[in-house]
Symmetry: C2
Subunit: 337 residues, 2 copies
């Protein structure tokens, strides 16, 4: 592979619901040169994450949809190759929204930050120390506000965000209950992420298992799924409960909006709240979050798992795989060393 | 009517959904005598309010359901007849949960407060200066947190709580949009309660009227209905919107929970929140709320309407009438002067 060729994964057609491999195509383009104030980054690790579904759907979201024919939006980690900015030098390791491609030319202002790999590997800066960890940290502490002794329930509990939420809640002195799909992930919840209880929602008796795992009800529900899992948890809310809406992984398509049991009566009777969170709203506190997470990671209070695929040709089908639940850790794609 | 007879409205059978006249019966009992620390109150005004539906249904609520054969729970205003407490003297006007009956014997601790009728009539203490006004005040200011220039939408906008919410939001410098059923109530919203816009949800073109009334989206939605009205408002939420769940008047029956469009995606994309409120949670701030509301009422910044029925025999059918939307003001029943 010549370094003058830039392989890019483009959005080929707009999916309804979950994007599949056929919605993308890989093309080869010439590597571009950065202009003044720009840098060129050689991507090393690309991200694959559930939020990408929302980025390519046509319906309303928190950001403009990726255009058909455009490079797929993705956070990535890479090495600065050429710099026309005094903020970065060739060789710097950085993260940012560099897209699914070998080489990205971006304004230096849009680089998230320079990464220090002396203590934590590069991949951690895309996961537990990146947007996943920050989502867990700010979503739980700011919107969930767990107090010691409370019960915190997490859906997609073994996932990149969920596993971090469960461990932070444990650090805060809560009883933690993880909901995950299948016995392998449920075991991971208890053994690796140290939930007090883990429930396989695919197994028979989910409702009874949930009730049994939450004998004192649910004070905080960190929701990554929506759907029937959430419907069950809502029935166990305590007075004053906080429901953090972080993702909707169990809903394949929001256009049209699917029906489910109305939540108003639960919220009224329990004086409970539901609140959507987006990590980007906490951008001015990322340094704080990274410092806290880095310390927890260093002293072993937070563990994380990664699943690294090899080669950019894995990218097109990788989102659908997440929604099938096939990964057992933060999914990344390594495209260079 | 001898004052030794106490007419009481008892719950005769447990309704599913909205209680009708046939779910109650009126009986005559002997008037009881208060014991030490108790008072006997001659009720003058009884309350009829939407929350009563929840008090008599078997499904979970914030208080124990009224038992079959028990006096119907109700806030009321009356005059102390006999006192065995040093806190109240015969002749004092008081409000409290005295029930649908002529005479109530209650512990003095359970009397809400002694009422001063030198400035506002007794009926106001059951409405705009009572739980309705307090619900509006705390629900809007604490959970809704409106800021000047924001758009506040209110459902059951001409009702006892809604009309107060709209006027408080106006005092706070907001654009106010009221949703009510029928042209008479919509006109009342604009002319009496000074909403910037009022929408009759029963008229054709509700969706278009809502969009047109909220050109800058919705920042606060004070919801007393749930159902299709709320589903429409949810589609107009702004980033950071607050939805205050105060009542669910449009849902006749919560057992089983009816289905509606899922809210999670709205909440996530708009980083919005929904929160249920209950006025009793603000009991330690009632004095503050009454002082503020009393001042607004005195200087004409808040107007209110009452609809006073005559005679305790009106009580059994009066709740169903509320849910049919037949009243044009805070519904009370006068049973003595």
């Amino acid at each position: 592979m010549s370094e003058t060729v830039n392989r890019q994964v483009l959005l080929k057609s707009r999916p309804v619901g979950i994007p599949q491999a056929e919605h993308f195509e890989i093309v080869e383009r010439a590597v571009a040169e950065p202009g003044p104030g720009q840098v060129r980054v050689r991507n090393l690790l690309l991200s694959v994450e559930p939020a990408m579904r929302g980025w390519v759907n046509a319906i309303g979201n928190y950001s403009k949809p990726v255009g058909v024919g455009e490079v797929m939006r993705s956070i990535a980690a890479g090495r600065v190759e050429v710099s026309q900015s005094d903020r970065f030098a060739p060789g710097d390791l950085v993260t940012g929204m560099f897209g699914w491609q070998d080489h990205a030319v971006v304004d230096a202002d849009l680089v998230d930050h320079k990464v220090d790999v002396s203590e934590h590997p590069l991949s951690a800066w895309l996961g537990v120390l990146g947007l996943n960890g920050l989502t867990a940290y700010f979503g739980l502490t700011d919107a969930g506000r767990p107090k010691a002794g409370e019960t915190v329930v997490v859906s997609t509990a073994a996932g990149a965000v969920g596993s971090c939420v469960g461990q932070i809640a444990k650090i805060k002195g809560c009883r933690t209950v993880g909901i995950a799909g299948g016995p392998v992930k449920a075991a991971l919840c208890e053994q690796e992420f140290r939930y007090d209880a883990a429930i396989d929602y695919k197994a028979a008796g989910f409702e009874a298992a949930l009730a049994s795992a939450c004998p004192d009800g649910v004070d905080v529900y960190f929701d990554n799924t929506s759907g029937p899992i959430s419907d069950a948890v809502m029935r166990h809310l305590n007075v004053g409960a906080r429901v953090v809406i972080c993702g909707t992984a169990s809903i394949a398509n929001w256009d049209p909006i699917p029906a489910g049991p109305r939540v108003e009566r639960h919220l009224l009777v329990k004086r409970a709240q539901m609140r959507g969170i987006l990590v980007f709203d906490y951008a001015d506190r990322y340094a704080e979050g990274r410092a806290v997470l880095s310390a927890w990671l260093r002293n072993g209070q937070i563990r994380h798992r990664e699943e690294i695929l090899d080669g950019i040709e894995q990218a097109p089908g990788a989102i659908a795989g997440l929604y099938r639940g096939e990964n057992l850790g933060r999914r990344l794609i390594r495209i260079a060393d």
